[in-house]
Symmetry: C4
Subunit: 280 residues, 4 copies
């Protein structure tokens, strides 16, 4: 064969970039999702066998697709440099693990479920949403840490005081934290409160202060951070395209710089001019 390696790579690249191929991949992912969903229904054994064949076909398709993309990338390091490729590789690789025993079969089905996530890596708009979400994580992390500290303190206080009243809700600090999460979602929280108020009539202070701090203040901070991240991304986009208020401000800044230089040149001209005049 006279085909060089570069020729082959270009061919794979052409396949990879083909719109039809992409539509094909999306179709197979959706099919794979439907098979996963259909399996949760009671289905006759014959259809189940068909599904197993389909499953094998889907697995092979994903395998060949990822191999094509690897070959198209030229080298493994070039392929793995992109985060989303690693993401796809892990998902496809995980569903290849042979799980035959009944014990592990559950895990095998679980790993196949995550193949639906490949939709996220394929559709650009979802990728943007997810990366906006990931950008907000560091700032949300500190808010979450602060929330965790508040939960921990309230849970410790709760299990110290209410542990004897209802062990099912306040037995130890981890059960108390789960109970507090329930209170934070307003789920039958008054039942929890009325129970402890029979022993400690003032325990409403505990619940109300907790709800006020966590459900009102904290949640607002979360909303604030997500909004801030969204607005910043938009301002950035506006600045680049020159649209909107942020775009106009950027335009003004750029043009002002030009005007400033022009003024500098004009002043030096005027000064030199004025200096050479006899009347000066």
């Amino acid at each position: 064969m006279s085909l060089s390696y570069v020729d082959l790579q270009n061919r794979f690249l052409a396949v990879h970039r083909n719109k039809l191929f992409e539509a094909c991949v999306i179709f197979v992912i959706v099919l794979s999702a439907l098979v996963i969903g259909a399996k949760t229904y009671d289905i006759p054994a014959s259809v189940l066998r068909l599904f197993e064949l389909l499953d094998l076909g889907i697995t092979l398709f994903f395998l060949s697709e990822i191999v094509i993309r690897m070959l198209a990338a030229g080298s493994l390091s070039a392929f793995f440099r992109k985060g989303w490729n690693l993401f796809d590789f892990v998902i496809v690789g995980a569903s290849l693990i042979p799980v035959e025993e009944s014990e592990m079969a559950l895990l095998g089905r679980l790993l196949r479920v995550f193949r639906v996530l490949r939709l996220v890596s394929l559709i650009p708009e979802l990728r943007i949403l997810l990366s906006a979400f990931l950008k907000a994580i560091p700032r949300m992390g500190y808010v979450s840490l602060l929330m965790f500290i508040i939960f921990y303190i309230y849970a410790a206080v709760g299990s110290i005081f209410f542990g004897g009243i209802n062990p099912g809700l306040w037995e130890n600090i981890s059960i108390a934290m789960l109970t507090l999460f329930r209170v934070a979602t307003f789920e039958d929280w008054t039942d929890v409160m009325y129970e402890t108020m029979t022993v400690y009539p003032l325990s409403w202070i505990y619940y109300l202060s907790f709800i006020f701090v966590v459900a009102f203040v904290f949640l607002n901070m979360m909303i604030g951070i997500v909004l801030d991240v969204l607005q910043r991304e938009h301002q950035e986009f506006d600045r680049e395209t020159g649209e909107g208020e942020a775009g106009e401000v950027h335009w003004i800044r750029d043009h002002l710089q030009g005007m400033e230089q022009r003024l500098e040149r004009m002043e030096s001209l005027l000064e030199r001019f004025s200096g050479t005049r006899p009347g000066h």
Copy 2:
């Protein structure tokens, strides 16, 4: 008759634009809504017959109103070019379908209910609200798709693991998705969780991670998008009217352009001037 077609059209246009006519239409829509509402009460047969007459009258009124607007528009294509006209036409047309049998009577009443929606197409402020809402839909669509994927994955995992514990809640993937929607609205979600925790003590991770991702993060994204759309509409409005910060920035941009051109002219004057000087 010596009336030309254009005269007739102008007359219909005059009727259509008449404030009194508009008030009349709003009155009939509200009346139609009241009849729909009144019919849901237990009413004597005599009043019911009156209502049927009223209903016929309302239907005829709507029919003639839409015909007037069609004639006023001049041509059918001009009439249907406006989205809201098509909207009105479908609503009025649907309530014309003759449904006499008891089976279809329900459908007939249903179609009449949607006549209330004509209020939206008549009141400009509601039209603006609805179009703001429609503008947000494409961006909300992708967030919804991402949410659907997350729901689907969680539902598949849920029906695989919890299907045997409570089939009523986790039997198959569609029932599991409904259960997860219930969890997302915090509606008795702890009952669902405590049940599965008796078999899988660690299943709280499943619920807490789901609530965190869907109810907190996802909802915030929705709020963020709606806010962003509202703010953008306002900035746009400000820029056009020259009010507010966005309006002032736009004013600055416009005037800066004029100043730049003036500076250019001045510099060329200065340069020519300086070039003709003997001392140069």
Copy 3:
């Protein structure tokens, strides 16, 4: 007596503006609120009589306070020109209505409760909050109207289809609207849904679409409007004080105008200058 009317008015004005007098008024309002609250407890008859005396005293105090403010204003029309004065007048006037009979006593107590609202008219920060709230009302009104139309349509559909299943929840359109409000607050909404799903298995579409439109989209619009009103008030404040981004933009706009005029003068100087040159 040699005191002129203007002297008297100035004296009343001095009393009215006195910080101590204002503190006194706030103290009496809080006292009045405490008396209202205390009366809801089981109290012995002797204390009750004391409360009645206190109540009389408070009523007299409020009466004299409002008379002082009226006299300080100079004329009745000047007094009533301020909205908050009318607000106070109605509240104080209402609690003067003699209600002795047992039937009306309840109403009398009710009218006294509203005296607490006078705190809002006295504390400037609360007044600002309330007027920000009132400013948002027109725009919220249209969102509410749109929401009402959606509620009405869903309630009509609900009572047509589900009226026979549970008359207590869907009997007629007004009861159905109350049930839908309950669904919108996520209060045991799954119980309502599971009941109708036994007859119409697809009725989850009805509930999910309603929750999506009302609880998610609509609420976000409300948040968006309140935020927008708050931000606009701040930008306005910034522009006036010259602080923040909006303030800087305003400063830039003002100075740019000066620069533009100066450039115009300079260009005309240059042009005249250039016109008189022989080499030209």
Copy 4:
């Protein structure tokens, strides 16, 4: 000993600023939190004794750490000038109070719980979050006051009318306020409403108006204030670093000032120039 006091202070400062020392402090705080949490589980007496020893060690460590920081600060007044130092001092001091009796032991455990809060004073990001929260408090305070007034009025009305229907929920004003807080969190509020509607069929107006004012309008104001505070902090940060839209506006403002001065100089040059010309 020939060590001067300043030498000693510098040594303590060096210890205090040491990264390893800081990590050590964080480790001990987390350890202390874990001990607090572990104590809420059923643990054998031998482990409990170990915990008591650990507790003593932690207390001594915190004591010496705060003494080192005091000595590093040079003087007590310099130490206490920083709010966070006072915060730490109170937390460490409180856990030193000897509580041996069974009655007070509960209080002793409680005071130790608050040692977890020292994490907030140690991690800068959490400190920033907390101070952003504290900045929002004054403005939130007035919203809370307004909300309290609304709660108080509704509670008074509720206990006057519904006190006889269900004393457990409406007996007096404080119980009624707790019930209203429950309604505001949508927790089984329809049960409360349906009960009073049997006596007062129109009482749904009471609940719906309350929910509309408090849960919708008020909560939005809270969200608005938190968002506003967050945005302002960011604009401030942008202005200082010169990034983002606010940063660019600030840059424009600064440069415009320079351009204005240059223009002034140029005009005066031009004018002088023009004045000396013979043709003028």
